[in-house]
Symmetry: C2
Subunit: 459 residues, 2 copies
Amino acid sequence: MKQEKKPLITSGFTPEEIAEDLAPLVNFQEEGLAKKDLEKMFEKRLIPHFVRYDLPEFQSLYNCFPEEGAELGAQLSLRYNQGVTNWIVSPGGVLLEELCCQALCRLFGLSASADATFMYCGTYANQQAIYLALHRHAERTGFNLAQKGLSGFPNASKLAVAASQEAHFSVRHALRILGLGEQSLVLIPIDKERRMNPYKLKALLEEKGDKREIFCVVSTAGTTSTGSIDPIAAVSDICEHHDVWHHVDGAYGLAFRLLPKLASRFEGIERADSLVWDPHKQFGVPIPNSLLFVRKKEDFDRMAIYGEYFNRKDDPEPNPGFKSPPSTRPLSALPLVAAIRFQGMKRIRERLGAPLKAVRKTWEKLDSHPDFQRLHTPDTGILCLRIVPEKFPAAELDNLQKYIYEDIKKEGRRSVSMTRLNGKYALRIVAISPCVTEEAVWETIISIRRTARKYSFTV
Amino acid sequence: MKQEKKPLITSGFTPEEIAEDLAPLVNFQEEGLAKKDLEKMFEKRLIPHFVRYDLPEFQSLYNCFPEEGAELGAQLSLRYNQGVTNWIVSPGGVLLEELCCQALCRLFGLSASADATFMYCGTYANQQAIYLALHRHAERTGFNLAQKGLSGFPNASKLAVAASQEAHFSVRHALRILGLGEQSLVLIPIDKERRMNPYKLKALLEEKGDKREIFCVVSTAGTTSTGSIDPIAAVSDICEHHDVWHHVDGAYGLAFRLLPKLASRFEGIERADSLVWDPHKQFGVPIPNSLLFVRKKEDFDRMAIYGEYFNRKDDPEPNPGFKSPPSTRPLSALPLVAAIRFQGMKRIRERLGAPLKAVRKTWEKLDSHPDFQRLHTPDTGILCLRIVPEKFPAAELDNLQKYIYEDIKKEGRRSVSMTRLNGKYALRIVAISPCVTEEAVWETIISIRRTARKYSFTV
């Protein structure tokens, strides 16, 4: 092992090298191992190949280590391993989940009729939200989607969902699974800050003639690529006017509704029909921890399937399993409640705000560094940029970003990600944990510049 | 609090009483709480309302406390909170998952071309399996389901999935979400042991004329109600002959493939197209821990969506996120690997076998107790029965089972469940953890009889 002053983000080993380390772990034997030997095996062979989300140099993806209060809650969840979909499996777990959902509706300023349910992840939450939209559309068409399926529509191939090109790819997954196919996705153009252009949405919905049957609009509060927040209030207005389901994918961004400075950007969520949030992103609770909110609690009735051995229709106690398909889910509400009560809202706001500030300051500072091209104004904690060294051949700039990304990855000292915006490769800095300071982000800038220099000499 | 010799399974409180206990937990405040105060709050207000799956008297559902090795693995998963869908988020996590999947394919005797992926739960795994079946059917029809959706089929309303009435309700959830609707479910009759009748399946597939287009058969290895194992080999034969996708829902039962005595009942799984297993049931690993196996690894290619910022098509490293929709999943492979390596296969078999023996012995013993009616021969660890006291009015027997179920639930000393078989209410004993001994199950029988006596006097 190389000696480094700073700990590595990860080993930087190749798949073959890691597979060699891990092989003994999956060599299932008749006899068991002593606990301490097993622990040593994991420590020596597995953990060095993990990624250290807790280091300030981790600036690539939406992951973080559990916050202290969340960990306390997660420990209890783990020890008692409570399922929570129906009353008899855990009365305490069921009620904590229900009460937590109601408290979160209030925290985010949703309407009094709103409700929520814990989901496994934003992907399945988005899937379910679009299913609910489609179900309502079917009701209006005059049939029950759950019974008849898409065949109930006069022309299912015209059904469409509108979203910007920046919507998360889970929307495409949802359209595949829901039987609509990706052909049903209508892309709304974005503005220069990579937010959905509401005028284009309006124009689309006002189109006359033999047009697509748009039953759902997905806006994004904190896009995956750049963290941009779509104009939610404007989209809510338009959807209300056209009586179309408005789903807000706030998997990453909704947490920032809690920051007074950003709250106004979330106006309109209380009028959205559904809303997704992943506390397992920057909120510091362990995976899985995700929520689906609906504006009217009755909307969840569309999900219910009543059973014989549990989840009976006439059960007097609450069964959260009526609100979504899974018949087994862990008590994710507990780590979330523990995180909020341990930190208190004041410290939570500090936690959420710190990485945003680091990114914003870096963006400002880069204004006077012409060898960096800023690709958007950061709405949240993500900054996409390209290094464009003076006199560097324009045709090679795309490759340069890729080389730098690969170099940084191999080094294992810091972690950034890569994306493509307007057809061009860009480096992407994601600040999730509060330890990602302005200094740590600036070190990344310096490191990008240093790595670029290596390639400048060879051009 | 009442003093009891044996600890209670759960508090037995009403929803209102529990809500009162929990209210302070979700009263989100500006200031945080000290860790030990928060811990005390949970201990006092929440944990008494959990269900103690670790007690021998818990005999109602598929839950258990984590096994010791599993807990060690889960602790590491929790501390490092690794995501595993793509390489850059956790090289070690990604490879452990991949290697574990391959090792499990070998453990269950699947074909060399097989592959697996971790899923959140059996429900989503079943959903995905039927989607894969439908996708293959679309390919044979000449189009790409992911792109065109169900509209690509000449007559989507004829598409059908065959399963027995004992299939888990997640199959109905899947048909809803997939846009087929519940109308697409064709029920295959069962035999007296509540297993799918393969002759009826064969007859259905051989029907001529303007019939349903059955593209998938779902058999169940360990049904939810009675733990029955469908005749898998026969179903595999029939599906092969008719070239129809065979999906085996082994969420509960597949683990028993590891017991030599039961292995022959699982012959044919190696020829099934897909297979679901939930280690988070009786295997003692924490929720979520579920797997989807496919016979041909290329089948997973149908799930892939390639991205720009990660999961790129040309990535040289493995990205398990290509195999299923979620873009975030925890490292469930680690608790599973830890459980297997800590116990060794020998102890795992003992663990799995113990509750089966307890149920089998009870079933045998009941032969000489005519006040109990046994509703099936237990294939696995579930026993459904009715108490039929001598001279008890036949018309009231259904109510009697319900009263007993409610009484036992309120008492909080033991936990059984209730189901309905052939339109009649039945009490259901589920033995999941190895601490559910023959004695513990017999105590339940005695307790049912005692409770029944209470109602006998009033009739």
